[in-house]
Amino acid sequence: MRLDLDGLDVFFPYDFMYPEQYDYMLELKRSLDAKGHCLLEMPTGTGKTVCLISLITSYQFAHPEVGKLIYCTRTVPEMMKCIEELKRVIGYRKDQLGPEGEKVLALCLSSRRNLCIHERVIEESDREAVDGACRDMTASWVRKKAEAGGGGELCEFFEGYSANGSDAAMPNGIYSLDDLKEFGKEKGWCPYFLARHIINHANVLVYNYQYMLDPKVAGMVSRELEAESVVVFDEAHNIDNVCTEALSVDLDKRSLDAASRCLGKISSKVAEMKRTDQARLNAEYQRLVSGLADSGLGRASGGVAGSAAGAGGAAAAGGGGGGAAGAGASAGSGGGATEVAAAADAIPANPALPADILQEAVPGNIRRAEHFVSFMRKVVEHFKTRVRVQSVESETPLAFVHRMQQVTALERKPLKFAYSRLNSLLRTLEVTGLDDFRPLVDVADFATLVGTYTEGFAVVIEPTGSVVPGVYEPVMRLACLDASLAIRPVFERFASVVITSGTLSPLDLYPKLLGFSPVVRTALSMSTVRKCICPLVVTRGSDQLPMSTKFDQRDDPSVVRNYGALMIELAAIVPDGVVCFFTSYSYMEMIVSKWDELGVLKRVLEKKLIFIETKDVVETTLALDNFKRACDCGRGAIFLSVARGKVAEGIDFDRHYGRAVVMFGVPFQYTLSHVLRARLEYLRSTFQIREGDFLTFDAIRQCAQCIGRVIRSKTDYGLVILADSRYNRHDKRSKLPGWVLQFLDETHLNMSADNAAAMARMFLKDMAQPLDPLRLKGTMLDTKKVAARNREKTGKEQRNASELNPSAAAAAGGGGAVDGMEIE
């Protein structure tokens, strides 16, 4: 359908659209017009992705001055989905406009692990190993040595790329990861470096959050994107956590020990180099004297060698000019060659944000390699003494640094440079296996962050940081408390940032947490053919005793028994798959063992098989696989899972895999966690967000996320059991997203288990009746209805405009009208 949306020619690849899709695109367009940020909530399964892509590419097409569309996703499968939709949209545009409509270059960006086509390298097990193996063959000094006849294996694809690919333009098209690999194989060019190279020519980029948010990665990848670009964060309900994680570092005793071993290795290397290649060390020293800014690191403003310091599992990278240090070392070669070399040596940039890095020379006391090594040794030793605590300590970075200064006489300033200096050293020493030095890099990361920031962070040292309770395993955490730190540069740089997800309620909290002011802020409800979600708030068991996972009640035998009874009941009446979410692993373990004693599990097993999520990813994947098989073959299964686990975040239980989702309890965070306490304290003092509000918001957002797992399309249906008396309270309930609340009648509240079972039976019977295709179509908009809607909207707006001050209404670019649509 080609429609005229508020004056914009939109290419929408389907013949019909839902009314909420229309509204969504309208809101989106308004924020693009106003060149502002927006916050949009639309239920899952209503075609968010296609709306986003369709509107923004159409907008780009109509307004060529708009830069790239940068689409950030959380996972590789989501990336695939996005590219698929993009292909459909562009395909449709081509049908409509001919070859003119096809002029788009879109590509996915991912780590070497996902893009490498070298047979040997790709066989490596994990991401770091692939990166290492690649660097072994592509680092500038390795290539130089090979050129000089010194032997060493080179990657044929990289050589192919550096010979031709770096200048060649890529033909227009839409390249998924597989397409890129295919293209690379065909041409003999390395897809990874090719993708990195053509970022600047692409119209649409699809990549992981970290590429935008983690300063270590973003410093190299996203630095050169034009400011007019539109940045989309899809599934962004957890974006504040991603932001804080990107700037947080954990150090435990073991990693500190490993760091000292690394230092030993380095110092012996330094000593060896001193003997054999004194000139190199001197060159490095000279560079450092002249300051980071002038030393060819200018573009990276601190981007020096190193390795992804693992925070938040950065989807590894490298690239851009980040590795200009290497280029500096091999200075003198021509422009193009430098760039290629730089790309190959690419390493993550400084963990601190570009704006916070001082444009100064590296302090004198760490310029010499051996001085720096002894400096780091002191730091590590100090950390080692600090981590040995018997009780929890929590302090501000300022206090931490002050104490450090008192004990070790190390100043704050060199700390800031630890990360850059270390990377420079590693490069000088020609280290490719950065993986081995990870612990040391972590320490440097910690030191840099703690030296740079005085606000928004907390250092928490806990004696029992490990997963096994009761074991003394101290851990030192540098926790970022302010989500806005990591994302602020993004908001400041790009014209429009779109934050969207199925669960963003309550909408007014996100702007506070992330520190931005959206011009559009809307939650769209779901247009429905039938009541496909049936939320039931179960507060009591059949014996009328309340059930709740409240701290003082959760161990109560009656609660455990009633939860068990509910489970048995559901196993009997719900077909195929049921997904249960518990509040934590420990609670799940506790309740499952009690159920075993009570014989609940045995009775459930008569009806359905039971699978459990564990902390082990492999085990969980296996369990999921078997769960799906059990659902497929009609045996029926129950999956017991944890609200903040991997399953709750990324696995879909659509159709028969999730006919019911049960929330046993409200998934509050562990409120005794010191990191959380520090964050709450910070939120209260800085943003005036009350602790209770934030905790409830966070719990309900997790809960909504779990609910969203089972409804992936409008023809799907699912039962939602909220089994906790606290869900009945208005302050909890009202924070659920609109698309759940619209189905939550008064009669669905405060039910007992048997009431709920009767209701569930009815619901399942109703939903099993065939869906009338005519009715389904009736709710959708075709070209005619869209036109009618357009007229209606414009009419309304004109009226509004004439009522208000006409010039103000026009200037607001629709912003005024949007405010009126806010749904709280």
């Binding site: 077909p575 659902c631 006919r659 399942l764 019977k765 939903m767 099993a768």
Partner: protein, 412 residues
């Protein structure tokens, strides 16, 4: 939890507090004019709509070999239908079997059940309704779990031997929400597909993925019984022969099927004749035109020479599936009455309800319109008009004409 299970045998007359929630107020809806409609009426309209699909004449197989597979697992004892699912099922199956032979006199039926994870054959394929029902009522204990795979395997093995010209069908009545299988059920589904067995399912409770897949793969129907009426309706829908699947048309069909039209014999003294597989003494019977064996019921298959025995009215009855009554056009209540009234004038006598009634309609139809079937006043009601003879009917008569009579009284 299932306290109601103990009251299986007192026929629906349980105490009020033992019953599930009856939401009588939900059955009532208000339309846009403020008139109150009951849900039942809506359901009947829906049924009309459902029937519309496939109302045209399609090629249908007249000779069906159908296994009725009943899930007799523990879940059948559930009390969500009064008095129990089992009792309701038996009642409905009884009607189904009678109705099936009534509408498909040339077809055969057998009954399978599953319980305790096994499948059992209660009756072999045969044409005798009484024998089936007797066998089923005698052996209807519910026990253990159901096994869909075993059930389908057994049906498939038995149906494989059936002649090519017949339609192979399984109708499953499935009460459980899970199945306890020895192997991969999807292989069994593929097997059914290769052997061209059509599987339809009437489910109780909720929709199950395997059943959905089974019916989709074998192009059968899948319906979930909402209540007893819907249950009955869903099962009765299986009495109509399904359209011949595209792959089955053509060469593999035998053009001619040998059948016997036995003559009725009346003996002075009772003599031995076959009733199903059993011998009985009877006075009247039919003797097979080929081997002269006496059989007491038609339609059936001769026990000795396996000749299908039918009578000509049976054959004629099968025809209504091939030439169905055309779908009547719905005219909303507010439509001008004139056209329909004029049309109904010429056709009122067709119901055989007597000449007087016919005349009455003719006289009054000029001013307002009456149903051509029951002479009900149609003003203010939606009417249904036969496209051929343009007679108007009320909803009840429309249902009667299409579901039972299979002839438009106006047209004949």
């Amino acid at each position: 939890m299932d306290a109601m299970d103990d009251h299986d045998d007192n026929d629906g007359a349980g105490y009020a507090w033992e019953k599930g929630f009856e939401r009588t107020w939900e059955g009532v809806e208000e339309d846009e004019h403020g008139n109150i409609k009951t849900r039942e009426e809506g359901q009947r309209r829906n049924r009309r709509v459902r029937r519309r699909v496939g109302g045209e004449s399609i090629k249908r197989g007249m000779i069906r070999y159908l296994y009725l597979a009943i899930d007799l697992s523990k879940t059948m004892a559930d009390g969500d239908m009064r008095p129990s699912r089992l009792a309701v099922t038996l009642r409905i199956v009884q009607d189904f079997v009678t109705n099936y032979f009534d509408q498909n006199p040339l077809s055969q039926l057998g009954i399978l059940v599953t319980r305790e994870g096994r499948a059992e054959k209660i009756t072999e394929l045969s044409g005798n309704p009484k024998a089936h029902m007797e066998a089923l009522t005698k052996d209807s204990d519910t026990k253990g779990e159901a096994s869909l795979q075993n059930l389908l395997e057994m049906a498939c093995t038995s149906l494989r031997a059936v002649p090519e010209y017949g339609n192979r069908e399984v109708v499953v009545i499935y009460s459980s929400l899970s199945t306890c299988d020895p192997g991969d059920i999807h292989e069994t589904i593929a097997k059914l597909k290769t052997h061209k067995v059509r599987a339809s399912v009437v489910g109780l409770g909720a929709e199950m993925f395997v059943l959905r897949r089974l019916t989709e793969e074998t192009s059968g129907d899948y319906s979930i019984a909402g209540d007893e009426n819907h249950y009955r309706e869903s099962l009765m829908a299986q009495c109509t022969p399904p359209p011949t699947p595209p792959g089955r048309e053509g060469a593999m069909f035998a053009d001619l099927v040998r059948m016997g039209f036995p003559a009725e014999t009346q003996d002075v003294f009772p003599s031995l004749g076959y009733s199903g597989n059993r011998q009985e003494l009877s006075v009247s019977g039919y003797s097979c035109p080929r081997c002269k064996t006496k059989t007491s019921e038609l339609p059936s298959e001769c026990v000795i020479c396996a000749l299908p025995l039918v009578s000509s009215p049976h054959l004629a009855r099968s025809y209504h599936h091939l030439f169905p009554v055309p779908q009547f056009d719905e005219i909303p209540a507010a439509a001008p009455a004139a056209a329909a009234a004029a049309a109904s004038a010429g056709s009122a006598g067709g119901m055989g309800s007597g000449a007087g009634a016919g005349r009455a309609t003719e006289e009054e139809s000029a001013s307002s319109s009456y149903c051509a079937g029951c002479l009900r006043d149609l003003s203010g009601l939606p009417r249904y008009r036969c496209p051929e003879c343009r007679s108007a009917f009320c909803l009840d008569c429309d249902m009667y004409v299409h579901d039972s009579l299979h002839n438009c009284p106006g047209c004949c």
